[in-house]
Symmetry: C2
Subunit: 406 residues, 2 copies
């Protein structure tokens, strides 16, 4: 039941525990992926993310395309080198952001014209240009360019949208196969550029990769996995189909027919009731291959990510832990806390008495409340560290439960 | 040449290397003190400050008085417990901020009426209330309430101001001597309050103090120094006198006559030329006792703090490294860098090739430039870590040079 890059280690009911091999790192699944929009998980240094046990982070192609620009990242050797992150990275296709952030977008068969939220300038994304961008960014896992169907939508609209997504998926795959060798950590032009600039490279590039003195083709990465000629970026397909089980099934079948090393469920968490999300996830999972990783995009609360993992989802991402943290909303084993409340002003207790994170081990609720009330940057740093720790620990416990057959 | 809490270990020309014993920690001097305005060195977690080698940080009484309020900090056991910082803390008297931030202040013999910069509410600081606040905050070193003379000022104004400061110094000392036992980490009421709430106390209070199970009178702190009955907060006097050497001499003599365990030079870096600052520092130092610590308030650049240490200053603080960092201005061994500049957009080199800090060891200038341009919070975190590292390393090198007799 395993493919060459995805090993299934244990199943328990519908839940699966596995190991996903990506070009830069091995990932234990089910996994939660913190969102690092513009090459930074907001407010958290990379060494802290490592300490928290983050195995893979997500970058947003739309944001990176605008700032610092794909060409800059490519010149720097790709996202991994650019942001000094040696573990795995996934980039989305840009489609979701274009659809959700841009009111002035125009969709044609060819692609999407949209305006930058930064300066209003006009841009165009197609399956081909989205692949080109994601190859240039060089994440380990990249996503086909899809149309995220709005909610609610009538059946005809959902069908037309899923068919467009299917055609775009085929175009995405075709472009990727023809251009995958251009990924910066494999292309020979980049290797020589790196060699030329080696004396200016920060020291991590020389000291952190045990036994790997140089980047380039066939190089061994930190986890002993080969960045070899057969180990390309993994391009995942995306299933759409709105809130209709039959259209989800059809979208799954058509995406599988094109063929990808992994499949994502997109178009959820777009305003529908939570119960409906769950039903669509559950029914869509039935139509996805068991031997390939399944990625549920953009969910959810701590309870939800545990629930979806138990349904058989292998990968999830969500801005909730990081965004909520910046608004003072903190997840704990005793429920959600709004740290801005006056009741915490003299609360000497830790944020979560059952949490082992460095924030709960050191600071009181009173101090965290003060930092938030005083608008201190440290509030964002500490709150984000705690929320990410809570999410990552939640998924760690889920993996442990699956191993125990619970 | 040593007093019971200040040991002189080595002198080299006018420079001195010493060891200052405070209630919570021992400090190697000359020392640079990062500014932690409202109980946070902006953007930097306390464990990172420890890693950077910060021995003592500064809190601003004016800001803490407004938020979270002295009573809250006192109830939490003082600033050390409140912010979970086991090393030394110094608070200013609030005088400087009241003078520099408030245009609507009104000074009388009794004290200063001012308006909050947060909500415009009216407040009053006197030598007595400034002492009361600083005793409640519970820093290791606290400052007499002074009037920071504006620059420029005519001789009559400077004289009147230094005389007011002298009278306020005497009142500060009197109030402190009568109330010093009320410091939260010594007062018995606080000890029992802590005992009562022990089950709600974050774990660091129980696990980080080796061999010190409980806070209270006579407790041994992390450095083995006794929080004993003879080991009170250290109240320092402040020398004013504007830019006039003779008035500085007179202010020094009158402050020494009142008698303090340490002396600060205030009223500099208020707009005067740098050369004048240096002259006043040099001439004032001649009139300060050699066996007491000397604290130069609110300076300066990396070059200046090294220069002042060589003149015989033992302690310095400045917002420059932290504030400049938040504006993308970074100090390096090769000079000052404005990281926002486009020239760094694809610069793969470290910020400072001669710096061992975690930022220079891991990230490129291109990445730091991107974070700043994209207005990412991580820019503030990383830039501040580097600048503080640069300042603290500078002072470490100065101490080393003094030891070597250079």
């Amino acid at each position: 039941m395993s493919s060459d890059f995805f090993e299934m280690e244990k199943t328990s009911g519908t839940a699966r525990r596995g190991r996903l091999h990506t070009p830069h790192a091995e990932i234990e699944t089910p996994v939660f992926m913190p969102v690092g929009t513009v090459a930074s998980v907001k407010a958290v240094p990379q060494d802290t993310l490592e300490d928290l046990g983050a195995q893979i982070i997500l970058g947003n192609t739309y944001h990176l395309y605008l700032r610092p620009g794909v060409e800059t990242v490519r010149q720097m050797g790709g996202l991994h080198d650019f942001m000094s992150w040696r573990r795995a990275i996934l980039t989305d296709s840009g489609g979701f952001q274009v659809f959700s952030l841009n009111e002035l977008r125009k969709v044609t068969e060819e692609g999407v014209t949209f305006r930058s939220h930064l300066d209003g300038s006009s841009h165009f994304f197609s399956p081909e240009s989205a692949m080109e961008a994601q190859i240039g960014l060089g994440a380990d896992i990249i996503m086909a360019f899809d149309e995220c169907t709005e909610y609610p939508a009538d059946p005809a609209r959902v069908r037309a949208s899923l068919e467009l997504t299917a055609r775009w998926a085929a175009r995405s795959k075709k472009y990727f196969q023809e251009h995958k060798h251009e990924v910066p950590w494999k292309s020979s032009s980049q290797s020589s550029a790196l060699g030329r600039q080696d004396t200016q490279t920060p020291r991590f590039a020389r000291s952190d990769n045990d036994g790997a003195a140089q980047r380039g083709d066939g190089e061994e990465n930190t986890n002993g996995w080969q960045l070899g000629t057969d180990n390309w970026q993994l391009l995942f397909g995306i299933v759409q189909g709105g809130m209709d089980r039959n259209l989800r099934k059809e979208s799954a079948e058509r995406t599988i027919e094109i063929g990808f090393p992994g499949y994502a469920i997109g178009g959820l968490s777009v305003g529908e009731p939570r119960q409906l999300t769950r039903e669509i996830v559950e029914s869509t999972l039935e139509h996805l291959p068991k031997d390939k990783p399944r990625y549920l995009m953009g969910v959810g609360t701590p309870e939800e990510i545990a629930e979806y993992a138990n349904l058989g989802v292998d990968m999830m991402d969500c801005v909730l832990p990081t965004r909520a943290a910046r608004h003072g909303l903190l997840f704990t084993s005793e429920g959600k806390i709004s740290i801005k409340q006056a009741r915490y002003a003299q609360d000497r207790g830790p944020l979560d008495p059952n949490c082992e994170c460095r924030v709960c081990q050191r600071y009181s609720r009173a101090y965290l409340r003060h930092l938030y009330a005083a608008n201190e940057v440290l509030a964002q740093v500490l709150n984000t560290i705690h929320n990410l720790s809570f999410y990552l620990d939640t998924m760690q416990r889920v993996r442990h439960s699956i191993s125990l057959g619970e």
